[in-house]
Amino acid sequence: MTTTITKTPTTPTWAPGSTRPSAVVPTLAVRRLALMIRSPRSVAIPLLGPLLFALIVAPALGNTLAAPGQHKSYMTFVALAAAGLLIPLNCLFAGLGVLADRQSGAMRELLVAPIRRGSIVLANLVAAVVVTAAQVTVLIVGAALRGAQFEAGWHLVWLVAAALALAVFVYGLAEVFATRIDNAEEYTALVPPIAIVPFFFAGTLYPLTSLPGWLAGIAKLLPLTHAVALFRYGLTGQGTQALHNIWGQSDTAQMAVLSLLVLVAYAAAALVLALRLFSKAGSS
């Protein structure tokens, strides 16, 4: 049915603006951070477990299991691995914010905004990375104060790059799950298999060589294994052995590059999948 226009039109007295794409992600990230700040528990809870692990469990294990004179070294080995628990936990919990947006309805306002829908995912990622970076810093400083022996230097860039890639990978998965899952209970049920189980097989508490051969093979496919090896390479002198256990080569820099490439590939795949699914879900 086509109808005729019957009323004399008026002109809107206000003109609409135009959104600068460069301003969109920061605006959305600030919104997400503001929401996180209003809910400090969502930031504190993922940090609590890994922090206790680094500050209490790692020294205890060092004292109990390490050879005489080696307990500081083992404590450092385990404490740094706690970052491999913290990053997945925090990034997965950050995905709950997306679920909350959908359930509270706030997502609908974002979906009708004159922005690319992918920028919503990128902004959430930026917020998750900012919070994770702060948490990892707290963890490392806390472990150092407790006696862990870190070596700060240019190698730190490997830790930063690996932590960033791991965060992007896990957050990408979190967005995928948050897009596909409707309730928080079902979502949180995914936390143990994604964030906790791999922690025990990724060379965190013991070298990969301590695992049965078939399990070590699987562990080498886990992004966390590569991330933890790069954490160690970035912040301690123990990284060479961890990388060697994965790649079996002698050129440490080359092995570090390979591990970083693996992580970047995982991160890119998860992010692309998240962007696609989110954009698709935004226009049903």
Binding site: M1, T3, P12, T27, R31, L35, G105
Partner: protein, 317 residues
């Protein structure tokens, strides 16, 4: 007829969901700039799906829609930049303050800070929420939250404002206050309004034109006055023991089948220049038991009943 480009145009829009569920089945309409256009129908009629297609959150199966002459499917970001939506449910960041919610909207819609600040102050004052904006939205009442959403929707200076059941769930007083707010805002900004509602009084008071939707199709589209005039000056409500018997009697009395509506034990018919008591007298002659007979002015619900055979209020229930 005017040559001015419509603010909103829908051309044979269709939305079919999996399972061959046709939510919208070939809807077409055109709205001039500055007009208030209502989509009236019960829940499930296809109103919100139509709004969803116009606001780019629902992908049409076929058909075309434009906002300000811009194709919604081809250039969704441009169409979103000239429109805003007030949703059926509360769509706000409740932990944040009212001000944070508004500022976020201003930035996302790319409003210049000075312009945004001026609109922010003007609108929040006009709508009576200026004193609330430092509080978290979680502390607002339903009416205050709705006002905040209306202010937010207008901050970007939209050419088209979509109001999807804007007063649903609010108590009567708040509903009327909000209704006045919408009318004031419309007068002040000249914005084109597309509104869905199943509150007939709202539709009648606010809308210049109405499309009555039933099962995904527009069954009538005209001004509220014209739609009401199609019923006549008066309708007769008869509460009877045996509605089919009363309907037969009314047929014999010359009332068109199309005009008669039955809701439970009530038979409703327009009395088009016929004196109502003559109808009841005729029914009495025909031995139809009439418990009560009342005449009243027709409402849009009568229009809807006549067009679809179901009442909007009844369909909701």
């Amino acid at each position: 007829m005017t040559a001015i480009r419509p603010a909103v145009e829908a051309d044979r829009l269709v939305k079919t969901y999996p399972g061959d569920v046709k939510a919208v089945d070939g809807i077409s309409f055109s709205v001039a700039p500055g007009q208030a256009f209502g989509l009236l129908g019960p829940n499930g009629a296809g109103k919100s799906t139509t709004i969803g297609m116009l606001t780019t959150t629902v992908k049409p199966t076929s058909g075309r829609a434009t906002l300000g002459g811009i194709d919604v499917a081809r250039n969704p970001i441009a169409t979103r930049s000239i429109s805003s939506v007030v949703f059926q449910d509360a769509v706000v960041d409740r932990p944040l303050t009212g001000r944070q919610n508004l500022v976020s909207h201003l930035r996302l819609w790319g409003v210049e800070p000075a312009v945004g600040q001026a609109r922010y102050e003007e609108l929040s004052e006009a709508v009576g929420i200026a004193g609330l904006l430092k509080r978290p939205v979680s502390t607002y009442s339903g009416g205050e939250r709705r006002r905040l959403e209306i202010v937010r929707a207008l901050l970007s200076g939209p050419q088209v404002l979509f109001l999807d059941e804007p007063t649903v769930g609010l108590d009567t007083r708040v509903r009327h206050d909000l209704f006045d707010t919408i009318a004031t805002i419309r007068q002040r900004t000249g914005v084109t309004i597309i509104m869905t509602t199943h509150y007939l009084d709202e539709a009648e008071r606010l809308c210049d034109r109405l499309a009555i939707i039933d099962a995904g199709r527009i069954v009538a589209c005209d001004s509220p006055q014209a739609l009401l005039a199609s019923i006549g000056d008066e309708v007769l409500d008869l509460r009877v023991s045996n509605p089919p018997e009363a309907v037969d009697a009314l047929h014999r009395h010359g009332v068109d089948d199309h005009d008669i509506a039955v809701t439970g034990s009530t038979v409703t018919a327009p009395v088009h220049n016929v004196i109502a008591h003559r109808v009841t007298a005729y029914l009495a002659e025909q031995a139809v038991t009439v418990h009560s007979a009342t005449t009243r002015r027709p409402t849009l619900d009568d229009v809807y009943l006549r067009l679809t055979g179901a009442s909007i209020a009844g369909s909701d229930n």
